[in-house]
Amino acid sequence: MNVIVCVKHVPETAEAEIAIHESGKRIKTEDLVFDINEWDDYAVEEAVLLKEKLGGSVTAVTVGPEDADSTLRKCLARGADRAIRLTDKAFEGSDSYAITKILYKTIKDLPFDLILTGTQASDDGCAQVGVVLAELLGIPHVTMVKKVETMEGLVKVNRELEGGLGEVMEVKLPALLAIQTGINEPRYISIMGIRKAMKKEIKVLSLRDVGLTEEEVGESGSWITVEKMFIPPVEKEAEILTGGVDEIATKIVETLRAKGLI
């Protein structure tokens, strides 16, 4: 089974202080730590598990600047065989759609049975890349995939719906699966694995290499353009309890007692 996995190098923002850049159109990323998108981490693990079970190869692809190599190295350390980074000044300002066109142009000529992506990225949360890519390639797709079972010429997958409900679908190969978190347990990467990965080549391709024009990428090739970013307005705000830890705990207990909860 030849698997291509699309990954994104994203800033870790869950516990970080975020500030809007002076341009008003992006956030300041200087002090943020970047890593592989959480959903993609599960997709890479699933790709490697499939390879280990069925043979074949895993190719990791990303669109991003040189820094994104650390995310590709992580994929290689986890068991990917090849890595491709798509980089060009013209790619700046691309939305999910323009990014997907870049991935499409690269992937359409590679041999594959299955393409895996994350269901969404933790930065823009668009949840589009996988589904658009499948459409451009003319192959079926399933999103929010929580389990993959391979059969002759097809995959049987569990897909997550709302409220704890799921559905089982069968899809003919080649197909694209957008992976949901929790599908597996991404493996621990050993120092040895990282060292080995450092020696592997990362293929770097530009706008011209993939055969796109400047109009097809960046803002001109996008569906949406960011006008401004802003911190969400406060509609409701919690009353923040202050003081020492014990003082805070006492305040909470008093509140609970007043409400008859203890």
Partner: protein, 325 residues
């Protein structure tokens, strides 16, 4: 006459809430641009749904086909491709749900129409369509504009708009012949499944102690277990805890898990992604403990503690035990 489409979403014999949320927003927008609000209903044996939708829209377009009985993005896309190509609605609203996420991006690509997903608001500014989206886990909002087009597709985040009671419209129900000419062979729906119920039903609990990513390690679980025990409550969690296998599926609160409404909800180390918030925001009293003062959870909570959970929780547990003795 211009049209604004709302794609009705239904599952297992019920129209889903997002349908009415979209119809409410769709009505407002359709009046602004002077368009007819049209509900699009695809499925099989769905007459009852059509009647309900007719109260909310000027017109209901209904396509009844056995191949549309269960949601299958491939079949839905083929039908919608025909419908949108022919009628060219100014805008098509689709829910940003498991259903819409699987359908909208490929549909927009095939139609070559601009798409914005997971929007929390949208408006026409003249000819231009602008949307508000949340990024970076709800910490930042973005205002974005769509490439100019005669028709757009937008997916709306569920539980963002409040569905209003309709002014009965008595909309026309228009049956359209199914444009599906063949079976969908590349993708097949097999069945629904529900994970087996565990010992604890968090939807019935009066007191819930919920944990998130901030708990860091499975070895830290006793810290919060003791608090839950002291309060006589149950332990629940946000998505990452289930993903890591530290608590079973049926303890997850949120869109893909359970909707809860306890008397007390203590959120510990939970940042507050909207998927989680929509599962717990109607709790009577919400206390959030998180180190990050900018965490979105503080916009849902009544009381907030900006502090290290490993300091606050043990102290709180002790004080509750003292109080009880």
């Amino acid at each position: 006459m211009k049209e604004l489409f709302v794609l009705a979403e239904h599952r297992q014999g019920e129209l889903r809430d997002i349908t009415f949320e979209m119809l409410t927003k769709g009505m407002e927008l359709s009046q602004k641009i002077n368009a007819d609000l049209t509900a699009v209903l695809l499925g099989h044996n769905i007459k009852e749904f059509a009647k309900k939708l007719a109260d909310h829209a000027k017109r209901v377009l209904i396509i009844d086909d056995a191949r549309l009985e269960n949601f299958n993005a491939e079949a839905y896309q083929r039908v919608l491709f025909h419908l949108i190509s022919e009628r060219k609605p100014s805008l098509t609203l689709i829910g940003h749900t498991a259903f819409g996420v699987d359908l909208a991006p490929s549909l927009a690509t095939e139609l070559n129409l601009p798409l914005a997903t997971d929007c929390i608001d949208l408006d026409f500014e003249g000819e231009k369509l602008v949307v508000i989206r949340q990024v970076y886990g709800g910490k930042v909002n973005v205002k974005a504009s769509l490439r100019k087009s005669e028709s757009y597709i937008v997916t709306l985040r569920p539980a963002t708009f409040e569905a209003q009671e309709p002014k009965p419209q008595d909309g026309d129900i228009v049956k359209i012949a199914s444009p599906l000419s063949e079976d969908i062979t590349c993708k097949r729906f097999i069945e629904y499944f529900q994970p087996p119920a565990g010992e604890v039903d968090i939807t019935k609990a009066d007191i819930i102690v919920a944990i998130g990513r901030g708990i860091k390690d499975a070895n830290n679980m006793p810290v919060v277990e003791k608090l839950a025990e002291a309060l006589g409550g149950v332990l629940a969690c946000s998505r990452p805890i289930v993903d890591k296998g530290w608590l079973p599926n049926d303890r997850q609160v949120g869109t893909s898990g359970k909707i809860v409404k306890p008397k007390l909800y203590i959120a510990i180390g939970i940042s507050g992604q909207f998927q989680h918030i929509s599962g717990m925001k109607n709790s009577d009293l919400i206390v959030a403990i998180n180190k990050d003062s900018k965490a979105p959870i503080f916009r849902a909570a009544d009381y907030g503690v900006v502090e290290d959970l490993f300091k606050v929780v043990p102290s709180l547990t002790n004080k509750i035990l003292e109080e009880k003795h």
